[in-house]
Subunit: 217 residues, 2 copies
DNA sequence: GGTCCTATATATAAGGC
DNA sequence: TGCCTTATATATAGGAC
């Protein structure tokens, strides 16, 4: 998992597999030892492989028989309650990986649109943009405006507490759209073909805000 | 082992210990699973803790009984041959850490002396240096000269292959001291009080080289 | 207690000896 | 074969919710 991300599958190359076995067995035994020490628990590990005629075991003889005796001493039912099922274990990992992918898609899209925004600020104009990008750009600008207004409010509180109402400049005409209070806006198809499962805040079709209205009245 | 390097000892804080237990148990089970998949071997792990009433086990029921049956089926002698003894395991780790410390000392010293060298080149002069630094500086300069001569030789070979002997410039008067062939030179006390166990190339008292002779004839 | 976040510490795949 | 180095991928401590 380093010079290259390794696929989680049987390593067919014999020497590579043996090398990986030795490294990982060492690392694993270290982890077992640390967990036992740090948390003061009983733990044992037994490894069989064709590389060694004897099984490799943690901890030493007395320790392991103590743990095994405990295990053998309980009814089958109790033994299996906490057993990890390989399939559900893998399923959990797949679910987690999918979540991460989703998050990454969202981050990537936000970066793309931020780039588009800067290109616009450099004078590229909006003529070459298609609807999906325009929609997401609108969303991004709303976000930026919200941040700006929030910052303005904070500064007001800091510089003039408590300010007499008539001395405070009237708030800018922008009224940020509160997406969270308008769930129906989220039911539109999004622009990069992932459907609802992406749950991205981008790519909604109607931006009923200052910016949207300014550019697409 | 991250925001802070944790000491390898029982964690006395109850909630911290439990948190560590859960995280590390999860990580450990993942490693066990990966080792089994990548190398196609049989492995089992059993964890007892006061946090759970049942032991937590890898892999699922059938798999573990298969491994345990193998283990129980062999004579005691065979069982214990490959068992890891906790003490020797820790000793190995201490030895490795000591090696790393030694190496780090050496690297630090080399950087210190390199800094001194540059200060000299900036015109600080050698008046404020004491013998230990002067000795190590001498060693460092020898190393640099060796590198330079080596590079010169390489360039000669590249630019004029094969050069007629009489056309080659005579080698510079410098004759690098080959420390490896002169073990008696290494028996001197070194200058930063670590004695022979440090085995550093620095801090020898006699530099019988061009540079040493130039500065301390 | 459980979950998520990130800065760090570790583990380890390749590649060279 | 086995060990070492180095660039990356992972694991995880501490802290915020």
């Amino acid at each position: 998992m380093t010079r290259k991300k390794v696929k989680l599958a049987f390593i067919t190359n014999d020497s590579a597999r043996k090398a990986t076995f030795r490294k990982r067995k060492k690392g694993l035994m270290k982890k077992v030892s640390e967990l036992s020490t740090l948390c003061g628990i009983d733990i044992c590990a037994i490894i069989y492989s064709s590389y060694e005629s004897q099984p490799e075991v943690w901890p030493d003889n007395r320790g392991i028989h103590c743990v095994l005796a405990q295990f053998k001493g309980m009814p089958e039912m109790e033994q299996s309650k906490k057993m990890v099922n390989q399939e559900s274990f893998i399923r959990q990992r797949i679910a987690k990986a999918s979540e991460q992918l989703k998050k990454q898609h969202k981050e990537n899209r936000e970066k793309e649109i931020t780039l588009v925004m800067y290109q616009c600020l450099m004078g590229e104009g909006l003529q070459n943009l298609m609807m999906p990008d325009l929609n997401d750009l609108g969303w991004l600008l709303d976000q930026k405006l919200k941040e700006i207004n929030k910052r303005i409010d904070e500064l007001k509180k800091t510089t003039a507490p408590p300010p007499p109402p008539q001395q405070v400049a009237p708030p800018p005409p922008h009224v940020p759209t509160d997406w969270t209070n308008n769930p129906s806006d989220h039911q539109q198809m999004n622009s990069f073909g992932h459907g609802d499962e992406m749950m991205l805040p981008f790519c909604e079709n109607n931006h009923n805000t200052m910016w949207s209205n300014a550019f697409f009245p």
